[in-house]
């Protein structure tokens, strides 16, 4: 019953006006002027031209100003060669050949874990975090020459051959992400400690990098260790070498950093005083929960 419906509206609505009610519109003359129907449109508009012949160009193009030639927006081509270059991450290359050379010249000690501060202390790589550089990447030049077991931590690996070359000699490889603030601490560690700031807590990688760092094939640090073991076995069978016995390796090859940790042996939140040879640790609850989260 329409009366009951009207009473319901009065009960449930805050304000009842002509415009609020869900009723069929009364078509006044004013309304008809604003919303003409198809026949009136046809009688008003011209009977010639692209509009009546259903051959209008797409929106944004003015056929009148084009005057027989293509409009500007169609003549100028799009060349998206450097699209996304402002957000792209850069990694400086280090080849297996240079690594082997550094080990032979005794600039790097393969008995201890080799990560970014060790490689930057050789002063051969200048990594600038403010230029969108996120660390080092391993290239596969010199894969046949490499012959030392090493516990390596690098930021990007593009080829499977490089991973196989390291694991063939009995080494371990992990790929690790560092955000720019942690990078500036790692690249020049001594300068960072002299600045007097607490060790930062490393962030999780951005969304377009998470797929890479959770991939066991790239030995990402967030990948499942079960799957990483399978991939090691698969590479050993593919390239034809034997995996070494893990019990005979020294415990430093099993060493891995926590995903929030930057330096081996040092926790985030600690302040290091090089002059007095002390470490200051926060005891306040607020800081402890932050640095352990």
């Amino acid at each position: 019953m329409p009366i009951e419906r009207g009473l319901q509206y009065l009960r449930h609505m805050q304000r009842v006006t002509l415009k609020n009610l869900p009723m069929p519109l009364e078509k006044t003359d004013k309304w008809k002027k604003e919303n003409p129907d198809e026949n009136t449109i046809k009688s008003i508009m011209s009977r010639k031209g692209p509009i009546s012949r259903n051959s209008l160009p797409p929106y944004g193009i003015d056929p009148i100003q084009a005057e027989g030639r293509l409009p500007w927006i169609l003549t100028v081509p799009k060349e998206p060669y450097y699209e996304g270059v402002e957000e792209a991450r850069q990694y400086l290359p280090i080849s297996l050949r240079t690594l082997q050379r550094l080990i032979d010249l005794r600039r790097i000690n393969p008995d201890k874990p080799v990560d970014l501060p060790v490689l930057c202390n050789t002063k051969l790589f200048s990594i600038q975090p403010d230029q969108r550089q996120f660390g080092l990447q391993l290239t596969d030049e010199g894969a046949d020459l490499f012959s030392t077991p090493i516990n390596l931590e690098i930021q990007w690996v593009a080829s499977e051959l490089a991973i196989a070359a390291i694991e063939r000699c009995g080494g371990v490889l992990t790929t690790r992400y560092f955000d720019p603030i942690s990078l500036s601490a790692l690249v020049d560690a001594k300068k960072f400690f002299e600045r007097g700031e607490p060790i930062p807590r490393c962030d999780t990688p951005p969304i377009n990098a998470i797929e890479y760092y959770t991939d066991p094939k790239q030995r990402g640090y967030l990948a499942n260790p079960d799957l990483i073991r399978e991939e090691r076995q698969r590479l050993a069978q593919k390239y034809g070498y034997k995996l070494p016995d893990s019990s005979k390796l020294s415990p430093l090859y099993h060493l891995r950093k926590d995903p929030r940790q930057i330096f081996y042996g040092l926790e985030p939140g600690w302040l290091i005083n090089l002059k007095d040879q002390t470490i200051l640790k926060p005891t306040d609850n607020k800081y402890q929960t932050f640095y352990h989260s």
Partner: protein
């Protein structure tokens, strides 16, 4: 710069005992590995259980894909083709040989088929030879040789499924019905041809 109040002084351990520092302290955040992967069988990436095959396949089973590299004879040779000094000096070609009959890692029922299918790669002494020099790296050439060996063994292990008795019966039935129809057609065609001839009875 944040001011940390109530901090504790502690004498730091000196750098020569870095091993102690690394091994004894364990820092665990919310993203530590035992929280990210609570159901994993072993958190160590070097030691732990693996589901992929790590041992040879026994005599009568299917070939499981495992090739023991100790039992293969791998030699590095000069590669062929252009390349100047680099190709002449570096040994980037890889040749792999193994004796088929004494290979325990190939199942026994595959060996005779293998020998039949790949006669051109087998020696008079019974050695299977394969050589690859297609890439510039020795490791990649080795990987290609092993990949080919696995593919050849897998091809040799495929036995085509024979026809069952029902299928044979239906095939024979179809042949017979086709031939009987053909005979009928032929007879009709010959009647047609005979009708076109003049018959000897009308002349009388």
């Amino acid at each position: 710069m944040n001011i940390i109040s109530n901090f504790v002084f502690r004498q730091s351990i000196c750098l020569s005992t870095r091993h102690l520092l690394i091994n004894n302290r364990t820092y665990k955040s919310n993203l530590s590995y035992d929280k990210l992967f609570p159901n994993s069988k072993s958190l160590d990436t070097l030691s732990g259980p693996i589901t992929a095959p790590t041992n040879e396949s026994t005599g009568k089973d299917k070939f499981n894909g495992f090739i023991p590299t100790d039992k293969l004879d791998i030699t590095h040779r000069h590669a062929r083709g252009p390349g100047g000094q680099h190709v002449n000096k570096t040994l980037s070609g890889v040749e792999i040989r193994f004796h088929i009959d004494s290979a325990t890692w190939i199942p026994d029922w595959i060996k005779p088929r293998f020998r039949d299918m790949y006669q051109s790669r087998i020696n008079r002494d019974g050695y299977f030879i394969i050589f690859s020099d297609e890439t510039r790296h020795r490791l990649l050439n080795q990987a290609q040789c092993l990949d080919r060996i696995r593919a050849l063994i897998r091809d040799a292990s495929i036995i085509p499924k024979g026809l069952s008795e029902e299928e044979k019966k239906t095939i024979e039935q179809r042949k017979q019905s086709a031939s009987s129809e053909r005979v009928i057609r032929k007879r009709m065609h010959s009647l047609n041809k005979q009708d076109r001839k003049s018959s000897s009875i009308d002349l009388n």
